[in-house]
Amino acid sequence: MEAMTGTEFTEWLRGRSDGQLRTLVAARPELVTPVPAHMDALAARASTPSAVGRALDRLDRFTLSVLETLILRPPPVTRDDLRAPLARAAAGKGAESALDHALDEALERLRTRALVHDSGPALRPAPGVAEALDPPAALGPPAAEVFRHHPPERIEAILADVAGARGATGAAASARDGQAPRDRLTALLADDATVARLVGEVSPQARAALEELAWGPPTGRLPNAHREVTAASAQSPIEQLLARGLLGATGEETVALPREVALFLRDGRIHRDLSPCPPELTGTARGPALADRTAAGQAFAFVRAVEELCELWSADPPGVLRTGGLAVRDLRRTAQLLDLPEWAAGLIVEVAHAAGLVAAGEGEWLPTNGYDSWRVRATEDRWTVLATAWLAMDRVPGLIGGRDDRDRPLNALHADLRRPGVAQVRARTLAVLAAAPPGLAPDPGSVLARLAWEQPRRRAALRDQLAEFALREAEHIGLTGLGVLSEHGRALAQIDGLPDADGRASALLATLLPEPVDHVLLQADLTAVAPGPLTTDLGRWLALAADVESKGGATVYRFGERSVRRALDAGQSADDLLAMLEKHSATGVPQPLRYLVTDVARRHGRIRVGTASSYVRCDDPALLDEVLADKRAGLLRLRRLAPTVLASKTSRAGLVDSLRAMGYAPVAESLEGDVVVARADARRTEGRLPSRPAGGSGPDADVAAAAVRAMRAGDEAHRAHRRPSGAPDGQVPRTRSTDAIQALQEAIRQGSRVWIGYLDSQGHATSRILEPARLEGGYLTAYDETRATVHRFALHRITGVTEYGG
């Protein structure tokens, strides 16, 4: 029977069009890793418990209910057979036509995913589906299963009570037919009239207990479950049920409600509160424009915070913990410096890390060289980098500060923060937000309800937690504003199907961000207000000549003696400074500021300080004259500071050696008094490449198409026992491996055939004609015409690739 279904399923699969198979592969990418050799292999893989389980995990509640209904109905089942129980379950939830529409869509979805196949006019679940769904719809085991381990005499006792006074003859008659007692009991329980009578016999308390179990969970704990009770001797409500077989013992201390009884109690429905449409999103209405602006404001603040973090860490990097990660103390300090709550600081740290802006190097967390190139880009592009990294990253910043299963604290940047499915939860959460009507900020509760409806089989607690984090983080990053998904957020999350390759998100965000300004407002209290982000040159200049007092949409700078001196130190003159101020001031230069600049300049540079690596000191100026006059001293770059002192740029050791070589007898002096002024440069570490976004959930279209092609070809060969075609004569020209990979990728995209040179496992040079399907993990999966099968080839053994026209 099973084998037959299997064959039927395989044939059905084989009969699907290439397009349908491509959709299947796209929806269940795990079926083609690696690419199956032929349709039999594909069918077998599609029926494995793990593959079915993963496919079921992706189904929404309604589609899953349709599938459960199909499994529970006695075959053969047509569409209309399915409709009746679904309609009852969904009564009062929208129009009839909506149900029909939803049912057709669900069935199509199930067919597309090869979870259901047609068998004439009837529908059948694919092999493995029923097992993977067991028990369906929170129902208990069938009666045959429940009473399997009951001794025959116990069943006889139950039968006696079931048959009751009136049915005794009927039961006796069946017994004479030679049917086993268990089968007789099963048959009786499958009969609605009998069950109705039995339910009518028990006490109200017992009926309440039944109702409780009817919608699941269908099992309960009961000490001494295998007790011998009859309708007459039953004391408690539970015993009344046990005596009548309405409840059966499935273990020493467990009882279960037989599936037949539950179905009767469910009154023809299989599901309760079934809705063919996803639950409505409810929440607060906001102005979409306002939401976009708020999100943009937050995006701006977020980018700024990341930059501030990197600047902080480049001057004063925190250490990497021995186990990896960032110490709690360091995170707290960072949060304080950024003036953010700890969770937000954790998010910023994690996103900066995921975007490749900070990384561990030399035992410290340091900004990477990637940060330097990121820093100079436009704000909107910088934001896109960060937001993309967040979408794709597999860590959960929200877990920071919590504790793991072994009650150890979870640190930021630690590997323990990884949760494999989180990127998908983020994408789905954003998709739910995108599905909301424009301007609606859905309540978190309704978002979670929607997510639960979309993927009911996922672990709810974890998913809810991750989704809540995702909502909070999306808001903080500026993907959403006031709870509404912004336009740029929508573009970035690729919700309308367009990939963001052309920077749509950046472009949308750019229109909302403050435009750069090239002037400041100077005031008599020695402040300068830049009423927007400054043009790069002016910004850099002001950062030199004044101290930043407050940041945000605008920047407030304060001029002080120290900052003016800093600008003078950097080589500006008082006139330069005043000219620059005049040029960029919208309002003239106030007198106190003018006074400050000239006053500081007046005193600037009266004391001169220089650096010298070493010096020569001698009480006899004549000897120093001699040294200076020596031609060989030219390389030492000596400079006379005073009659008895020379300064040199050469190191002390080098100077001593050179002077000795020149025939003098110098003595090195201790370091005391020797001033070396060198500010350590901001430090950097090598960063790794930021993780690439997963790019949707499935393989891209090219890969799916190639995989289907390969399977088809393999399948034909497999079935027709096609003769392998011979490889052409001659040698395939050698190709560099990068070129080879490129050629193979091209062939996958084009669906064309290639001729390759290949070293087989014995090291013999062979040549093959291939139809490449998939390139992954150092292996090429392809249909091999010369062997007439789908085969995996190690890339490093491919010696050459060339196009094959034949």
């Binding site: 943009a296 404001g297 407002l521 008599a524 209290d525 940041k551 945000g552 309002t587 106190p592």
Partner: protein
């Protein structure tokens, strides 16, 4: 892009572009919940602090209004995190309330049980509380009404005080508006205080805070205790009350170092109140001497710590604080909030000046250069002596003389910190010197002579910092100050800000030694005024020639 006048910074400061056409309405919209921090010529800075937000809540504004104002006037998108933070902070006020319960007396009630649980766990708060007679209410020891408000503010859950006030002993007080009327802002200030119950009124020096006090008394119509900074100021309060209200000489008592009168309206000095003998405050009984219906705190930013402690026990009485600035050098703004009350009225100085209520003022910083010997001596001076050395340099005396000469026909005040410097100046200028040891009678004689223009130049020490009403003084020359005290500078400028009979402006000189700590302190002192829009001109002492340096 929105073209609003406001820029919201991520550190919760608000930048208001004053030349913007919507600046006026925007200022009105944000003033309730943001403290004006700086008001220089082009861009005013407001700060949204928790205290400011709670002040707004106390005045009946809600988070929605605040957020609307920010979004409506903001030029750039407002970061969402900031909006959330504002809403959360505002929501903290009023979760806890002090109320009168018919049986339990003073109680702390809550609308949010979790908050009550949190504060109950606080070791500081718990001892002040009595029985928790319902899940949402707990009795409070009546004597702890002030302390618990202070403690709750520190925990970040400021309590709304709805426990009401005792009326106090009735006493008729009316304003007598003969030949003068209450200015609109004075009336607004007094009304705002009265409706709020208790609180602080912030008005610039010279804007008539005494009259606001009198108007508040006229509202209360009850016996009043007035706390002022010193004896001279006490006398002035008395004179002013006699002039402005229906009160008579025998109704007003002075409680100072010399007199100890307790009358329906009693004016006491902080100094007397905080005098201790053998470790106890001798004059505490004054607070209980009568059933006061109103307590007025003059110059609330100077309120000494012991008075705070005493005030904590006066929470059932109406309190009004008067000040020119809420800036406290000791950072105890939170105590003012919880013990005196929220800010009830505030008006920026420059606006008052534009309306003609206070005299316009030019501020000039004159920099003198130390001679070479002085510089050497300065460099060698002990660090604690340095300030005194550079702020009393003889060069300053010369500059002062030049300035006094220039303003020969005007009433000039010379203000300083160091007595010997002042004595020397007095000699050089041939002017009387008023200092701490000058007897009160003599002081008043000299002040009167100055008002009557019998003398043109008066040299005063810091005794004259506060509440000395010298309306005719139009020039003040500050030769030295108390290190970097910002409020002192403001007070001293206030001496010359009273509107002049001739409507003329005032001139404030601050003489500073260049390249010394004096200059640093001066910069710090000037910040408050510069932020209030008083731009300091800086001139070199050598430029003080015959022509006017400020032109």
């Amino acid at each position: 892009m929105n073209d609003g006048p406001l820029i919201v910074q991520s550190d919760k400061t608000l930048l208001l572009e004053v030349d913007h056409e919507r600046a006026g309405e925007c200022r009105k919209a944000i003033a309730p919940f943001a403290e004006l921090e700086r008001a220089p010529e082009h861009v005013h800075t407001y700060r949204v602090t928790p205290l400011a937000l709670w002040n707004a809540r106390a005045a009946g504004h809600d988070a929605e209004q605040v957020v609307d104002a920010l979004i409506g006037y903001s030029r750039y998108p407002v970061p969402h995190a900031l909006l959330v933070d504002i809403a959360e902070t505002m929501a903290r006020y009023g979760r806890l309330r002090l109320e009168k319960h018919p049986i339990q007396g003073l109680t702390l009630t809550t609308t949010d049980r979790a908050v009550l649980e949190e504060v109950l766990r606080s070791k500081k708060v718990r001892p002040m509380l009595g029985e928790r007679f319902s899940p949402d209410a707990v009795a409070v020891h009546p004597s702890e009404r002030g302390n618990i408000k202070q403690a709750l503010l520190k925990l970040g859950w400021p309590a709304e005080d709805l426990a009401g006030y005792v009326d106090g002993e009735h006493h008729p007080i009316d304003l007598r508006e003969d030949g003068w009327t209450l200015r609109p802002y004075q009336k607004e200030a007094a009304d705002a205080f009265w409706h709020g119950g208790s609180g602080v009124v912030v008005l610039p020096c010279g804007a008539g805070k005494t009259i606001v006090g009198a108007a508040a008394m006229a509202h209360a119509k009850a016996t009043t205790l007035i706390l002022v900074t010193n004896t001279v100021s006490a006398h002035q309060w008395k004179q002013e009350l006699l002039r402005r209200t229906s009160l008579t000489e025998d109704e007003i008592g002075e409680y100072t170092g010399t007199k100890k009168e307790i009358r329906p309206v009693t004016i006491a000095t902080y100094q007397v109140m905080t005098t201790r003998r053998q470790g106890t405050y001798r004059h505490l009984e004054l607070f209980d001497a009568r059933d006061w219906g109103l307590v007025v705190y003059d110059e609330v930013h100077l309120l000494p710590a012991p008075i705070f402690r005493m005030t904590a026990d006066l929470q059932a009485r109406r309190r009004v604080g008067l000040t020119a600035t809420l800036v406290r050098e000791d950072g105890r703004e939170g105590d003012v909030f919880s013990l005196i009350g929220p800010k009830r009225y505030d008006a920026p100085w420059k606006e008052m000046e534009n309306q003609g209520w206070i005299a316009p003022a030019d501020c000039v910083e004159v920099r003198v250069t130390l001679s070479d010997e002085e510089r050497l001596a300065y460099a060698m001076a002990e660090s604690e002596e340095r300030y005194r050395f550079c702020s009393t340099t003889p060069s300053k005396t010369r500059v002062t003389e030049a300035l006094v000469r220039r303003h020969g026909d005007e009433q000039v005040l010379v203000i300083g910190q160091y007595i010997d410097q002042l004595d020397e100046l007095g000699e050089h200028l041939d002017a009387p010197v008023i200092k701490g040891e000058t007897r009160v009678r003599e002081r008043e004689r000299l002040f009167q002579a100055f008002r009557d223009k019998e003398i043109n130049v008066l040299v005063v020490s810091k005794v004259a910092n506060f509440s000395i009403d010298l309306p005719e003084a139009s020039v003040a020359i500050q030769v030295s100050g108390t290190f970097g005290s910002r409020q002192e500078e403001a007070q001293r400028l206030g001496r010359v800000l009273r509107p002049k009979a001739d409507g003329g402006g005032a001139r404030f000189y601050s003489i500073v030694s260049r390249d010394t700590v004096d200059q640093e302190f001066a910069a710090h002192r000037q910040r408050f005024l510069a932020e209030q829009g008083y731009a300091y001109q800086i001139v070199d002492a050598d430029d003080i020639g015959e022509e006017d340096p400020a032109r």
